[in-house]
Amino acid sequence: MNFLDRLGKWVLNAVAEAGDFAILCWTALRSIFKRPFDIRNLFKQLERIGVDSMPVVLLTALFTGMVIALQTYSGFKRFQAQSMVGALVGVSLTRELAPVLAGLMVSGRIASAIAAEIGTMRVTEQVDALEVMGVDPVQYLFVPRILSGTIMMPLLVGIADVIGIYGGFFLLVNVFGENPDMYLNKVYQYTDVHDVTSGLIKAAVFGFIIAMVGCFKGLRTEGGAEGVGNATTSAVVMASLLILVLDFFLSKLMF
């Protein structure tokens, strides 16, 4: 009974939280169109999210591209199909791996940072101070961050696609001595525009989710420094889970 009680409570909490999150997303989306629009703040966040995430995303993409090439090369070679490695790297990276892995990495980097920042503002009453001054915290704090997330993630993933593909290229050509033209030809031949755009759309959605979850968890922070710590970790967990779940549904939708 005790176990069921706890389980029931957990489920209720989760559902309530999902509801709050959905409402806040809606409020934030509407706030994007409210005046005054804070362009300076937007650029600050764009720079921060872009610059902070660039190194992790690029390293992730590079090594992911190389490891797919490595694994598929050893497999495909068994039936003389090593020329198809380029096709596989191109499709799997652009459709799936670049957006998802970049999303997970950026969650760790940015969702946590946003949650910590807004959480600190919450517990030190800076959010209350905004409200008292008649400034909507959702508009002032959320909008620049979610816009930056939504704009920056596709850019990052676009670069990650290229870096990942060239990671595979580097491995095949320089380590296994394969023909350089063959690899790139297969990449071009088999990777559709749709593969790339669907990956970039995913990236935009993930970018929105990452920033939104960070803001959401930050705004709900209670209980001093410890609360900020909890908000930070739970923001990363929630953002990562949402990314994996949404990835499935988006893939299904854009199949």
Partner: protein
């Protein structure tokens, strides 16, 4: 002007406010006294809608604002200024930008006008020359004064101060009290101030209330306070009496 009717508020099983009734008149300086943790800050936050009562109603200018939405509150709050107990300065802006923030958001002032206004506000709280420091580089008392300066930047009609002078030296305390008195004399400003400092309370008060265990146990003018026989008031007054003897 501001009316609280039978306000109740609990956090979990902890009852903080147990039926608060008060009426603050336009233009008066209203002081809230009370021991630490009796719910003074919580009460102040009910006045400006940062907290909602579990039971009871809040009226501003005769209108019931208890169930106002956030958007509706934003309009009311333009007329209010509030300084927080821990200052609540924006830690990503320097002192100048903090004080300029409400002006930039709500007026179309030129950079010159902003500079002048911010300079004036910082000057009267004794912070001239610290414009470019970040909040993290300020002492507790400096932070509090910067928060005070920010709350008066827009010349609001109603000012809520949560312990504006706690932790300041006597000279600085006196200066802040003078600022509050000047504000009220010049414009028709309503002030609600929380303080522990009986000297400043007597300096600025038209009326005082004493909060104890979630209830208002005393309301009256400074004269009434002096005459009161309530033990809790007497013990608060002891601090002041000691100081008068030493003068």
């Amino acid at each position: 002007m501001i009316e609280l009717k039978n306000i109740h508020k609990s956090f979990g099983s902890k009852h903080v406010l147990n039926g608060i009734n008060l009426h603050i008149v336009k233009g008066e300086s209203f002081i809230i006294l009370g021991g630490s943790g009796t719910g003074k800050s919580v009460m102040l936050k009910h006045i400006i809608g940062l907290m909602k009562p579990d039971k009871g109603r809040v009226f501003i200018d005769g209108k019931d604002v208890t169930d106002y939405t956030r958007e509706q509150w934003f309009d009311i709050r333009r007329r209010f200024g509030m300084s927080f107990q821990e200052a609540a300065l924006f830690d990503f802006m320097n002192v100048f930008e903090n004080v300029a923030f409400p002006i930039r958001r709500h007026t179309r002032s030129t950079e010159m006008e902003i500079k002048k206004r911010v300079g004036y506000c910082l000057d009267i709280v004794g912070l001239s020359g610290n414009e470019l420091l970040m909040p993290a580089e300020l002492s507790g008392g400096m932070r509090r004064r910067a928060g005070f300066a920010r709350s008066i930047a827009l010349n609001p009609e109603v000012l809520l101060f949560d312990e504006p002078t706690t932790g300041l030296d006597p000279v600085m305390t006196d200066q802040i009290d003078n600022v509050i008195n000047d504000l009220r004399r010049g414009l028709d400003v309503t002030c609600v101030t929380i303080t522990h400092d009986m000297v400043s309370a007597f300096d600025i008060a038209d009326r005082m209330v004493m909060l104890h265990e979630g209830e208002i146990v005393f309301t009256g003018t400074p004269d009434d306070v002096m005459k009161s026989r309530l033990p809790i008031i007497r013990s608060f007054l002891k601090g002041r009496i000691c100081e008068e003897k030493t003068q």
